[in-house]
Symmetry: C3
Subunit: 428 residues, 3 copies
């Protein structure tokens, strides 16, 4: 039930008035409350979604790890091969289980403080070891989080509703049988998750990658950023929503214009200066032409709740997929993985666990190219966190794609995380 | 003028409705404001009480130390053998004396900033060295705190009223002529003091001591926590208030039931599992029986403002005494001492200053057994400080003893410390 | 247009009621709102003034430095020899330029994030490298700060009005052709700037310098602080305001009384004790007399927005000049320089860049004597920041000079910095 261009057109119509220079005949008049009001509320993330959380390998059998998602402290444990995710807070007096997790049986956890014992799967109180007839048994409990593991990734559902299929929250292609996935260890970036979500597909941000070692070494001048015209934008950008597949958009980048030089005009009669991108500046004319001749036709996709795909990247045949998983108001986990198509188990294993995924995706991208992205998000965090940035920002024409995504994401998400959720005030 | 059981019965009646499974015919109906409302106010401690503050040995002659009690910065000094405690804040412009304490005479302190000179005993301005006719002299001043030293402990009175005798705020027996006291250096625990006060006698917390090296090495399985029935509770728990002696309770532990095993029921037809305490799990049946045969008959006492006694502990003939002295909203000093009876000065000295107190009390208890207690308090601090824990906690049956103490302590204390007191807004 | 004594008399009349012991026939009655209300508002500094910011040498050609003034993040750069100061926050999305400042031309800066390019001199958008026809060009921009360099010091104007001449904000004599200036590197002191401004000329604070190595080694007993009588104060203290010169006051110190000893009265029949200043205490009578015979006739001046001069100090022929430059609510830069008169360029260079300024001013003063001043400000910061000190302070007679300055400074400044300014909400 995809509704491609019509969604993009509607989003364009609703946001054009806010992007200087985007003149659109039928554009909505600007209003006091911006059309992306829900995005502004979503400081702590979108509730009722699945989130990639950790590489499966990092929680081995009998292991455990406390991870904060959308402000909620969650304890992940694997017992008898089964993965569980529970609220890291005893319902009795708030003791953190993760300080000393005790599992007397493979499907229970006993609080090390007062011996309350809980089911790992649904969080209900199984028994009190010091009061085995307590009326609390079976009635009270902690929150248990639905988890699912696919292709070496732990996904967690944070919300109160009956979880929809994981497939609705992960970009298309991930579940294909012949897709192999290499997973990097997630790390914490000190900015709100929305700055990550916007920054990943931001058409104007490519300039930062002129300082990525990958671009420098591969001699790829990264442009000053793209600016789409109204026509090219509606031609290249396809939004979709669907009951079972992910909601988001794909942008076919080859349609947008790029340039390796620009001009800084002079003033008061002094001459203008032609500026060449630093990487291109060091190259011969034939090198530049050769690069221009390559047609990457890279497609970028942004998907609810917080995913990005770049197809292909960094080399043909590889898809880069990253997520900006909300941790708290001022930080998110940068979760990155690389996909490739494989036709046998041996190659799949080489990609996922061996050196193939390392040299073709993880080392050039997760350990190199995207470091600049994380730095850029941290470089604007202060503005948005402390300086009223959501109101003070000065939108440029190319930012209309951000505005469209803000409206779309805020209106198609399944809920907004509230501060109360982070204090444990949710349905158990 | 002790009123034993009648107080306990009244407390039981007023709190039974909040402890699931405690069915008591004449119990009060639950109310919107809990009967322990005053306990909830006492984040910064109880005002107008004496508090143990430091080992006397740690403030030697001509020495000084700044210590924060109930949020108030207090400077302790000893001059010509006399101990003084004064507000660490010049009344002129707030300079901290402790940065450079200058005592030109044995009974004055001169502020290093503008030479205001104060009496050490009552805090009045004695003179201004640069304005010896100032009208401020004798009229204005800083707060001076009553102090008293007993058995190597400095006690400080924090409040505004005429101090009652120290004896009213220290557990019975401490002042006995044949009681010798070994004092450990107090240390800061990062939790509110009330979590300490509740945790010390909490009948359900013993489980944590299965991971204390003392219990492990002494092979004492510490139970899963006790649960008192209504009958046993009223039989073993004796509350008292008195004009001259301390207010609080004593619980005779031998009357409560203990067990080294418990059962985790199975689900959906799978079998139940019998769980044995880890320490007991490694012991032979005869060892377990031998331990069960020992009758410790340990008495636990909780006393205003924030004291605990365990008699005997860790060995017969020794009383463990500890205090949770409020420091600020999120931390308290853990002040511990061990008592024993002595019949001559030499033994007293061996206990207090020599190795006897070290090996019989300080090393096994203050340096070992109670480390788990401090850890447990810090493990629930976040819940009570940030997650609305005082409202969200899920009381169990055995917690009724905490509720009774909360009501008793809140209603029998001499006052509640306010935030204004910590900023110096008190009677001087 | 100087109005000397009349201003001082008016200030005295308005503040006398608040200084105990200052009885003045025509004094104004005390009011609920203190006459120095504007001083109390000026937590973040006085707006629309020039501030010394850095030694010129510390921002060399092609160099840059981010400095926070009055809560505003400012990027200083020197390009082609020209110094610029701009808001360190891109108007687009708040990116900090200082993370990677890129100047493709000598008079522009290009944001490393989205390639917005700004004039360095007026902050307007010169172009967008990725959208060279953007309607934002020339219309929008960042704040550019007027800067001026004199005698090796960078001065910055923080405000919105047309800047008055720098001469109006710098003490008299600085601009004299034969004045050479030695500049110390400014450093951060962790107190509000007003505590610095008050502390510098505070007649009661000299006591602290008995612990300065300079005083100890030079054997200068620093007194217990001065207390001016009403008569001496009005005789020695001259206030001035002027359209073109600086506004402030000069106090001729030689008129005030000093003493190297004082008496602490005894109590209850015990004897009084004569206290001698510690430095004087170690000296022979003839040494003390010799020191008393020296007539320094030191003049102290305090000038808007936040300057102090001490003439001479630390030796005849040298003027010490310091500033307490607001950084944020809880810290300021301590900016110090030393002046001397020179009659040729070689001596000027020796003073400014060679060893002459080092041994005659910088080492004894900025690296030694004033360390106690910075310590004193930090010693009262907690009182004024957290303990309601502006209301709780207990004014003494000698503090009337502080009160007079508070009234004068608050009423003669050009504006008060607001919290909104620190978030970028100012005229651009």
């Amino acid at each position: 039930m995809t509704k491609n261009n019509s969604i993009a057109e509607e989003l364009f119509r609703r946001t054009a008035a806010y992007a200087p220079g985007m003149n659109f005949e039928g554009a909505d008049k600007p209003t006091t409350e911006k059309p992306w009001a829900k995005w502004l509320e979503a400081e702590l993330g979108f509730r009722n979604h699945w989130y990639p959380t950790e590489a499966s390998r990092n929680i081995p059998d009998n292991g455990h790890k406390m991870i904060k998602l959308l402000g909620e402290d969650i304890l992940f444990l694997r017992r008898a091969g089964q993965l569980y995710a529970i609220e890291d807070r005893c319902c009795h007096r708030g003791t953190r289980f993760s300080i000393r997790p005790i599992c007397y049986t493979d499907d229970t956890i006993t609080c090390w403080h007062h011996a309350f014992t809980f089911n790992l799967d649904d969080g209900r109180i199984r028994t009190l070891l010091n009061d085995q007839n307590s009326s609390l048994i079976g009635r009270k409990g902690i929150k248990a989080y639905p988890v699912r593991e696919e292709k070496g990734i732990i996904f967690t559902f944070v919300g109160d509703i009956e979880p929809p299929p994981l497939e609705a929250d992960v970009p298309v292609g991930f579940f294909d049988e012949d897709t192999a996935v290499c997973v990097a260890d997630p790390y914490v970036v000190h900015s709100n998750w929305r700055l990550g979500s916007e920054g990943g597909y931001d058409p104007g941000h490519h300039f930062i990658h002129n300082w990525s070692k990958f671009s420098i070494n591969a001699r790829i001048a990264m442009t000053f950023g793209w600016t789409s015209t109204q026509e090219s934008l509606l031609k290249t950008c396809h939004y979709e929503t669907s009951g079972t597949g992910p909601s988001g958009f794909t942008r076919v980048a080859s349609e947008t214009s790029m340039s390796v030089d620009a001009t800084i005009p002079g003033r008061n009669g002094s001459p203008s200066k032609k500026v060449v991108l630093p990487i291109a500046g060091g190259q011969t004319q034939s090198e530049i032409e050769m690069f221009g001749a390559m047609d990457f036709a890279t497609k970028v996709g942004a998907w609810l709740p917080c995913a990005l795909t770049v197809d292909p990247w960094p080399f043909p045949g590889i898809i880069h997929n990253e997520y900006y998983v909300p941790r708290d108001a001022n930080s998110h986990y940068y979760f990155q993985c690389g996909w490739t198509k494989v036709d046998n188990e041996e190659t799949a294993d080489e990609w996922t666990n061996g050196q193939l995924g390392q040299v073709r995706w993880k080392i050039p991208v997760a350990e190199d190219f995207t470091v600049q992205d994380a730095e850029a998000r941290e470089g604007i965090e202060k503005f948005y966190a402390n300086e009223d940035g959501w109101k003070q920002e000065q939108i440029a024409a190319f930012d209309i794609e951000l505005l469209m995504w803000r409206v779309f994401a805020g209106e198609n998400c399944r809920g907004i995380q509230q501060a109360d959720h982070t204090r444990g005030l949710f349905k158990r």
